[in-house]
């Protein structure tokens, strides 16, 4: 039952944000896409993807080698059945086209999703228990929508896996085929400090990653261990951090993670009739004017007066965000990309580029019951080149509604993951440095003057050996650079100590433009995995994660030497 007070609050909230339309944008796109239809914000509850459920072990299969990519290539890594450990858990995921509601005022759209969902099911892994996941491509071969191609490869972003399991862009499987991926679920170097927290999995097929991810092929992959544990805030072990979050079993028998909420932010564009659009003539980086969180446009989320852990992932093709809370409350950041920070950092806002993750704790304990707090993006971006500037008041993406009390046994300790193998330990072992210049050249993007070529190797680092890489970019474009098979420390940004949220290990870093400039990073590559002891060698890619740039081949590859 609505009361007058509720109505006034709705009025105030909408007034404050100008009915929450998109940030005004210049019409500079190749096709001058008209704005998306209006949608009423905060009428849909934030969807939470279900947890992926293991299945009975099955015999793993050899990789398909004959799926033809859009560039005519076929898989480079065609391996036999995977060698798994006796404790490996098995999963079966189908890539499917399914009707999806982005918003009740828009028609159902045909998306492509893992198990037909976007985001896909959330994997919950525990360090030391490997996963074998079979992804089956059930996508339609003659899809009427025209966004994406039913040719897929799975990259577990931020994860450490063998070359045949990394989603190397040529290693695809087509409609009717499947591919098995073995994930060791252990830190790359056996060090507890390098246990992962928030990874994600997404499509990585050569030249078509942009439309395939945009169409919905992305999901979360969370990793836990004895310290950042699955029992979370209820863990009685003295080693446990007891960060917000716990597992609960719903009445349906389904497992659910409470107070620990993964949220992927994406921007999408719709035509006058509410159908998803994409512009394959735009190579600058596609932007949409609708903000989609876990698959829903501007949803709401009911919270209790206590601490929550939010794992934000920017799953957009090209857009950067800078997020604030509307009541001015700060965030306590606990992780960047897939690794917990050494110490929590309190920030008023944080910027998050494509493919980056930032984990924060928000404590609603001082909120009034019934209070509404908005998660607001204040970073304006009008084209794929780079973010423009902070604007006020910005666009609210999500409305928190504080509607109850709940016990809060969680805490945020002063030390999260101590860095025991940081620059002080790694630097003396460095023998090689490399410089990569990410440039725009005559309407395309290159690394050190070259486009990705399947038959060219750009670097040959040695396994288990750290290196220093300088990532440079001139010309006013921002590029979020992602390097596979490594986590890295940012030694400096533009010659200076990096900002506070860039002092932990990362797997994606923004460079270029006036805001980001150049970075020098210290990276190492794993030597072995304990689960299946075998040298970690072979071909992996590094690339710009503005996916349109990546698809235009702003990508290189390194061949890790034994």
């Amino acid at each position: 039952m609505l009361t007058r007070r509720d109505i006034l609050k709705v009025g105030l909230a909408t007034g404050a944000y100008g009915l929450l339309g998109p940030v005004p944008r210049k019409r500079v796109f190749a096709s001058d896409l008209p704005p998306s239809p209006r949608t009423t914000p905060f009428v849909v509850e934030l969807p939470i993807a279900p947890i992926a459920q293991p299945v009975r072990p099955f015999a793993t299969k050899a990789d398909p080698g004959n799926c033809v990519n859009v560039d005519g290539t076929t898989a480079v890594h065609v391996h036999g059945p995977r060698v798994v450990t006796s404790n490996t858990q098995f999963f079966l995921i189908h890539e499917q086209a399914r009707p999806h509601s982005f918003h009740p005022q828009l028609p159902l759209n045909s998306i492509w999703g893992y198990n037909g969902m976007s985001p896909g099911p959330t994997f919950i892994a525990q360090s030391g228990t490997p996963f074998l996941i079979r992804f089956v491509n059930d996508l339609p071969q003659n899809d009427p929508v025209g966004i994406g191609e039913p040719i897929t490869a799975i990259h577990r972003h931020g994860g450490f896996q063998f070359e045949e399991d990394d989603g190397y862009p040529l290693d695809t499987f087509c409609t009717g085929q499947s591919r098995d991926y073995f994930y060791p679920n252990e830190p790359d170097d056996g060090l507890e400090e390098n246990e992962h927290s928030t990874l994600w999995y997404h499509d990585h097929a050569i030249d078509i990653t942009g439309p395939n991810v945009y169409r919905g092929l992305a999901g979360f992959y969370l990793n836990f261990d004895a310290v950042d544990s699955l029992a979370g805030e209820l863990d009685t072990s003295p080693r446990a951090l007891r960060l917000p979050g716990r597992m609960v079993r719903l009445a349906s028998g389904e497992q659910f993670r409470e107070f620990d909420v993964p949220i992927v932010i994406q921007d999408k564009q719709f035509d006058n009739n509410g159908f998803l659009v994409f512009d394959s003539f735009d190579h600058n980086g596609f932007l949409g004017d609708k903000f989609v969180l876990n698959g829903a446009i501007q949803p709401f989320f009911k919270v209790a007066r206590r601490k929550y852990r939010f794992r934000f992932l920017n799953g957009s093709n090209a857009r950067f965000y800078q997020l604030f809370l509307s009541n001015g409350q700060p965030f306590v950041a606990i992780a960047t990309d897939d690794l917990l920070l050494e110490h929590p950092v309190t920030v008023k806002s944080f910027e998050i580029g494509p493919a980056e993750r930032v984990e924060v704790v928000i404590d609603f304990k001082n909120a009034a019951l019934g209070q509404e707090i908005f998660l607001v993006n204040r970073l304006q971006q009008t084209d794929g080149r780079k973010p423009d500037q902070l604007v006020s008041p910005g666009t609210p993406l999500l409305k928190f509604i504080v509607d109850r009390d709940a016990a809060d046994p969680s805490r945020v300790p002063d030390t999260l993951r101590p860095v025991t193998e940081g620059p002080a330990q790694l630097l003396p072992r460095v023998k090689v440095k490399r410089e990569f210049d990410f440039e725009r050249s005559d309407g395309a993007w290159v690394i050190n003057g070259e486009f990705f070529d399947e038959n060219r190797i750009d670097a040959k680092p040695k396994r288990g050996t750290p290196e220093i890489w300088t990532l440079k970019s001139g010309g006013g474009w921002a590029h979020p650079i992602h390097i596979h098979l490594t986590g890295f420390f940012i030694l400096s940004r533009n010659g200076s100590t990096p900002p506070v949220l860039e002092r932990g290990r990362k797997d994606t870093v923004a460079i270029g433009g006036p805001d980001f400039g150049d970075v020098q990073i210290l990276l190492s590559f794993p030597a072995n995995f304990r689960a299946v002891p075998r040298p970690v060698t072979g071909r992996f890619v590094f690339h710009c994660h503005n996916i349109e740039h990546e698809d235009m081949r702003m990508m290189g590859q390194f061949d890790v030497q034994p």
């Binding site: 005519g72 009739n273 003539f281 030694l491």
Partner: protein, 239 residues
């Protein structure tokens, strides 16, 4: 509840019902991608060929065809010759498929100087054969076309430099709505392969090693250097 609040509540309830109510009886159909591309990216502007023929971009040059489109101008001395040279090599490799299976459209960004006669001279000088049209027209039309095909830079200063738009080859199979772009500065082999794939149905593509290894294997660790102990020492102090 006051009357005003009651009215508002009814309005909100109606709005809410509208949100979650049944879909309209004839829901709009999803767009047809081929038609959308035609409407949004393939304007039917008037152009003149290097042979002096007046043509329409969509009706006469693109409709029903496989095309490779680039932008150029005859006096361009830096990026352009390499682009044109690459296309000349691709033309040679495509042989008699030129004009039959694929049409090259090289559109001038310098309509004032690039008259049909100038373009004819340029075509002859480069040995452009059948199935390759050099085109000029009204500068505003070509400007619109360039933008619609995605050959532009978001930085207005860079965008004002015509040379910056000569590095892209836009490949399209119009009837099936398959479009992509490749840099004109890519290896000519890769451009030719991309054109072949635009022509052929996917089931007939050359694949695998036949494609990859047509460009010889290369290791090129550009930007690699050995680190000196002094550098490490400096970084350790910094750290």
């Amino acid at each position: 509840m006051t009357p005003v609040a009651a009215r508002l509540a009814v309005l909100l309830a109606v709005a809410a019902a509208g949100c979650s109510g049944p879909p309209p009886e004839t829901p709009p159909a999803p767009p047809n991608p081929v038609a959308t591309i035609r409407e949004q990216h393939l304007p039917n502007i008037e152009l003149v060929t290097h042979e002096g023929r007046h043509v329409r971009f969509y009706d006469d040059l693109v409709k029903g065809r496989v095309v490779a489109i680039n932008f150029m101008f005859a006096t361009c001395r830096n990026a352009c010759p390499e682009s044109t040279q690459h296309l000349v090599e691709v033309q040679r490799a495509l042989g008699d498929r030129m004009g039959r299976d694929v049409t090259f459209l090289s559109i001038s960004l310098d309509a004032e100087r690039d008259t049909p006669e100038v373009l004819r001279g340029y075509a002859e000088a480069h040995g452009a054969g059948p199935g390759w049209y050099f085109l000029t027209g009204k500068p505003d039309d070509i400007e619109m076309l360039r933008r619609k095909l995605g050959a532009y830079d978001l930085d207005p200063v860079v965008d004002a430099d015509r040379k910056q738009h000569t590095g892209l080859v836009i490949l399209g199979n119009e009837p099936v709505g398959r479009w992509k772009a490749i840099s004109a500065l890519s290896k000519p082999v890769r451009i030719r392969q991309a054109i072949e794939r635009t022509i052929l149905p996917a089931t007939e593509w050359p694949t695998g090693d036949a494609v990859v290894k047509e460009v010889p294997y290369e290791e090129n660790e550009r930007g690699k250097e050995l680190v000196t102990p002094a550098e490490i020492a400096a970084l350790l102090v910094h750290d």
